[in-house]
């Protein structure tokens, strides 16, 4: 199932990376604890990949590793984005290279208004969607633009977090549980948005507990368990596979 | 008795500020003390051993024992000073403690030495209390005091500024400041001066502008700064900044008086001290034999003239050693007895006497003035008057000195 990229040519990955985003033998640690345990997977340009698994499986850690956050520390392996070596970058460089992460607790910046939160994202190049366009997509944010970001309701914050990512010209959008805390109508909205984003050619990795919804959206799925990959294949395959569903997704 | 020297050497403890604002003052004291030790041990040029009227010292240590010393840091805090004095007494076996640059420390360490049974030679301490209400049988002061400053300054002030002046006092808000203010107010009022106001300034003040400004409108024509060290440097700087010295009030030129001067303060205040009057315990420009000899020894060794605190400590170390020789023992009670009512000359201050009743030393007091045109970094002050000792002498039970209640107690020789 898991197509191992062919790295036999050594480290000349810039040309040989088999996919748009390649994670190869990545290992990450929080201090002493070994969390992401030697995982490899590929995401192709323009596709939506669902990254699934139980609580504590290591999904967040994987996304954070790709976005080159300080924790967890990637101690081994390589990450390539569009022929650029992410594993050699710091988080702000990764962001400039085209990574956009919507973190699980949204991380709206306290002390800044909605608008400032977006403006902040548009300081470093490359810039993506304009404010107007974002407010069009999320009218709610437009209404609240002068309010302090952290006082928004949970759902509004989620919108802001996504808007903030889109306001940058990103190549890969990493979404950590984007539906969490959102009203069903909004989830529908966001799902629609994600499809729009996909049409724009943005590659997406989505982590979601609502596995069914995520799988309906995704082209491909990777299932993690205790830090390792237990499945890598087409999204439909998961829905079809009774065993997988029961064992790892409880659906 | 405490720390009786049994070997071939005797240890003295030099407890001076080595950190904090008075570190330079302390450093000067330490240099002088080391010089004294050298001279006692017969090294160097012998310094004031050549001029000292008592000839008991032979340059072979004290009572034949080589003089060694330990040093400590008072940090100009009573607690720290006591800790370091204790360590010298308890750990290093010091039989005498010398040094310091503030009255608080002096009183605190004096009390400690009394309890521990060693001799304390007080170093720089100017408050009346040290040999006033806080006098102790084991403690001796070579430095002059606030009363003496007042008594010495008064005639000069009268001569230079007349008997009709309005004085405004700025006083550091702690013991020494108060006693100095009290003394100066008493002696100037005796001249016929009027005291317009006395204002207490916090010790921690750095900027005195808000204390200086009111002087402008107070009708005062004289400002008395009962400040020491950094306080004095800043208050004087600020006063000059506000143009006080250029003013004419009540038809008289405005004057500033700094009752207690030191060389370091003068250096710190720079050009601002020009013409400002004050008093000192000693100045290297004194031309008596002892002084000339001391300045030569000190200057040749360290390349600068000694400060008055340096001279104080130097003289005290020699005096202590001499008293031991004359008493034939290091026992503090014997030494104290030898020092009491001891009269001598040749250590730089001219004729000097250590009074038995309160262990205060009596000698001439200098009135000095900030030099108008100093030719080098060291002659920032010029001597205006050498006030004879008689003129500054007072009764041991003077009210400013604890009155009849103040007692020395009995000498403590310790364990």
């Amino acid at each position: 199932m898991n197509v191992k990229p062919d790295f036999s040519k050594g480290h000349n990955m810039a040309e040989t990376a088999p996919a748009f985003l390649s994670v190869w033998n990545m290992e990450s640690y929080y201090g002493e604890s070994y969390i992401v345990q030697n995982i490899s997977f590929n995401v192709h340009e323009g596709e939506i990949l669902a990254l699934l698994g139980r609580n504590g499986a290591g999904k967040t850690s994987t996304l954070r590793s790709i976005a080159r956050m300080d924790d967890p520390q990637v101690t081994h392996g390589e990450i390539w984005l569009d022929h650029k070596p992410l594993h050699l970058m710091k988080s702000h460089e990764a962001a400039q290279a085209g990574i956009g992460l919507v973190p699980e607790d949204r991380r709206i910046i306290p002390g800044l208004t909605v608008e400032e939160n977006i403006e902040l994202a548009q300081i470093a190049p490359p810039i993506g969607w304009s404010k107007e366009r974002l407010y069009e997509l999320f009218p709610r944010l437009g209404e609240r633009r002068k309010q302090e970001g952290v006082t928004l309701s949970g759902g509004e914050q989620q919108m802001l977090a996504i808007a903030r990512a889109l306001s940058r010209d990103i190549k890969v959008l990493l979404l950590d549980e984007p539906y969490e805390g959102l009203a069903p109508v909004i989830v529908d909205e966001i799902e629609k948005t994600l499809r729009i984003i996909k049409e724009q050619g943005i590659t997406t990795v989505i982590v979601e507990q609502n596995a069914v919804r995520a799988l309906e959206l995704a082209d491909r799925a990777v299932i993690l368990d205790t830090g390792g990959i237990v499945f890598d294949g087409a999204a439909d395959e998961v829905l079809a596979n009774e065993e997988l569903r029961a064992e790892y997704l409880a659906i | 008795y405490t720390n009786e020297p049994t070997g071939s050497s005797v240890t003295l403890g030099f407890n001076v500020p080595q950190t904090g604002p008075y570190a330079d003052e302390g450093n000067d004291e330490l240099l002088a003390q080391q010089l004294a030790v050298e001279h006692l041990n017969g090294e160097g040029d012998g310094g004031c051993l050549n001029t000292f009227t008592s000839k008991a010292l032979k340059g072979n240590g004290i009572l034949g024992k080589k003089v060694e010393f330990v040093t400590g840091d008072t940090q100009t805090k009573s607690d720290a000073a006591r800790a370091s004095a204790k360590s010298m007494i308890e750990k290093d076996g010091a039989v005498m403690i010398n040094g310091g640059s503030s009255s608080g420390v002096a009183v605190a360490v004096q009390g400690l030495c009394q309890e521990a049974g060693v001799i304390f030679m007080a170093g720089l301490t100017h408050a009346n209390d040290t040999t006033g209400k806080d006098r102790k049988a084991n403690g001796f002061r070579h430095f002059f005091n606030a009363y003496m400053s007042g008594a010495a300054l008064a005639p000069v002030l009268a001569k230079e500024m007349g008997n009709d002046r309005n004085a405004y006092h700025l006083t550091a808000d702690y013991n020494w400041g108060w006693t100095q203010e009290e003394s100066i107010v008493a002696s100037t009022e005796a001249l016929g001066w009027n005291t317009v106001n006395t204002v207490k300034t916090p010790l921690a003040s750095t900027d005195f502008s808000s204390y200086i400004a009111p002087v402008l409108n107070s009708g005062a024509d004289t400002l008395v700064l009962n400040h020491y060290g950094g306080n004095m440097i800043n208050s004087l700087t600020n006063a000059v900044q506000f143009g006080l010295l250029d003013k004419v009030v009540n038809g008289k030129d405005f004057k500033i008086v700094v009752p207690l001067y030191s060389e370091l303060m003068a250096a710190g205040a720079g050009a601002n001290i020009k013409g400002v009057l004050g008093s000192m315990n000693y100045n290297w420009q004194l031309q008596n034999e002892g002084s000339k000899q001391f300045v030569k020894s000190f200057g040749e060794k360290y390349g600068k003239p000694p400060s008055n605190s340096a001279q104080t400590c130097y003289a005290q170390v020699l005096l202590y050693a001499d008293a031991c020789e004359r008493a034939g023992t290091f026992n503090p009670c014997g030494v104290a007895e030898a020092l009491e009512n001891f009269e001598f000359d040749g250590l730089g201050n001219g004729k000097t006497m250590y009074r038995k009743d309160d262990h205060q030393c009596f000698k001439d007091v200098l009135v000095v003035r900030g030099a108008e045109n100093p030719t080098n970094a060291y002659d920032t002050l010029e001597i205006v008057e050498i006030t004879p000792a008689e003129q500054v002498t007072y009764a041991p039970n003077h009210p400013m000195f604890g009155g009849d209640e103040a007692t020395l107690g009995t000498c403590n020789a310790g364990a």
Binding site: A67, M69, D70, S91, H92, E93, A95, Q96, G100, R107, I109, P110, G111, L112, E116, E119, L120, A121, I123, A124, P125, R168 | G20, P21, A23, D24, V199, K200, T201, T206, D207, S209, S210, A213, P214, L216, N217, G230, N234, T237, N238, Q241, F242, G243, A267, G268, A269, G270, A271, N272, W284, Q285, V295, K296, G299, E300, P305, T375, N376, D379
Partner: protein, 340 residues
């Protein structure tokens, strides 16, 4: 009446010293979240830039003058500053005279350098550490800086006068027909502070820099995710703060002669100012600086000290307590900054 105005002026003057130090401190403390006990030392280093420059300018060569004698009776060594021999006695003397204002030129690069080294070499590693650790390390650093200065310059204050032209007093009341003499240099100091404060405000207000740094302080990680190299900005911010402290020090030197522990004397007070102003608020720090300066001035008047003995000793702390009890976050503090 004029006594009253005089005290207000004194208060403004004191206040501008407080405000300048507090401004730098609040940039580091309220914005970067680092409890910088070495900030006072930066102020002190600034002042010693002025001292050093004036000493440098007075570097002299020695000639022996047989006609005069020094204190030991040897021939006097006469020192002539090199600048005087290079530029002629008049220009040389003028340069020496203007050494304090000139040292601004020296202080800016020096302070920026000190700031950069300090941040890159030390503080950087402490952003994520507890405040307690920051206190210990910066306090250690402050001691080290102080002791180095003490080693070279001694413990005694060093008189650093302003240029002769700025010595003396001006009558500020002349236009209004009454006497209001005020020292020139203090007026200069006040104007200079106002300028620096305005400059810093403008920089933070009219550029996104301030917002980025505030955001970075609240959540470094997320700001990094948005492609911003927050470390670089923190470094710049630190250098600016160091520079502000240093300039405050340079200009303060003629007011009161600098000594090696002047930083510590101001340190506690400037923390009080920052906190009374409210954490994270620049205007707060400035406002609190001036407020405390003026209150302190009034508390030292004879009237105040006779009505309430000792009020001049405690006024600042008393006001701090009252403000903090009535306004939870100081005068203008923002919510959530350093409250845990």
């Amino acid at each position: 009446m004029d006594a009253f105005i005089l005290q207000i002026l004194n208060g403004l003057d004191k206040g501008s010293a407080y405000a300048l130090i507090a401004l730098g401190l609040t940039l580091i403390f309220g914005t970067l979240g680092v409890v910088n006990f070495a900030h006072g030392a930066l102020f002190m280093i600034g002042a010693f830039c002025a001292v050093s420059l004036s000493k440098l300018l007075q570097l002299s060569y020695v000639t022996i003058d047989e006609t005069q004698k020094d204190f030991l009776g040897n021939p006097l060594k006469v020192e002539t500053p090199y600048v005087e021999s290079w530029f002629g006695p008049e220009v040389g003397a003028a340069i020496i005279d203007w050494s304090v204002p000139l040292s601004i030129l020296l202080a800016i690069p020096v302070m920026i350098l000190v700031g950069l080294i300090m941040e890159r070499g030390l503080i950087k590693h402490f952003y994520k550490r507890e405040h307690a650790d920051q206190i210990l390390v910066t306090f250690g650093l402050a001691i080290v800086l102080q002791e180095i200065v003490k080693y070279y310059f001694g413990a005694n204050p060093i008189q650093t006068p302003p240029p002769d032209a700025l010595l003396g007093v001006s009558n500020l009341g002349a236009w209004f027909g009454f006497e209001l003499p005020y020292p020139n240099w203090r007026i200069v100091y006040f104007c200079f502070s106002a300028l620096v404060i305005a400059g810093v405000f403008a920089f933070l207000q009219f550029t996104t820099f301030g917002m980025v740094v505030r955001a970075g302080m609240a959540d470094r990680e997320t700001v990094g995710l948005l492609g911003i190299d927050i470390d670089k900005r923190f470094t710049i911010m630190f250098a600016i703060a160091a520079c502000v402290a240093g300039l405050a020090g340079v200009m303060y030197a003629p007011i009161n002669p600098p000594n090696y522990h002047m930083g510590m004397d101001f340190l506690v007070l400037s923390f009080v100012v920052v906190v009374v102003g409210g954490m994270g608020s620049l205007p707060g720090a400035v406002l609190a600086g001036f407020m405390l300066g003026i209150l302190e001035s009034f508390a030292s008047t004879t009237w105040a000290t006779t009505t309430l003995p000792g009020i001049n000793q405690i006024i600042i702390y008393l006001v701090a307590i009252i403000v903090l009890l009535t306004r939870p976050r100081g005068l203008m503090g923002r919510k959530g900054v350093m409250e845990e």
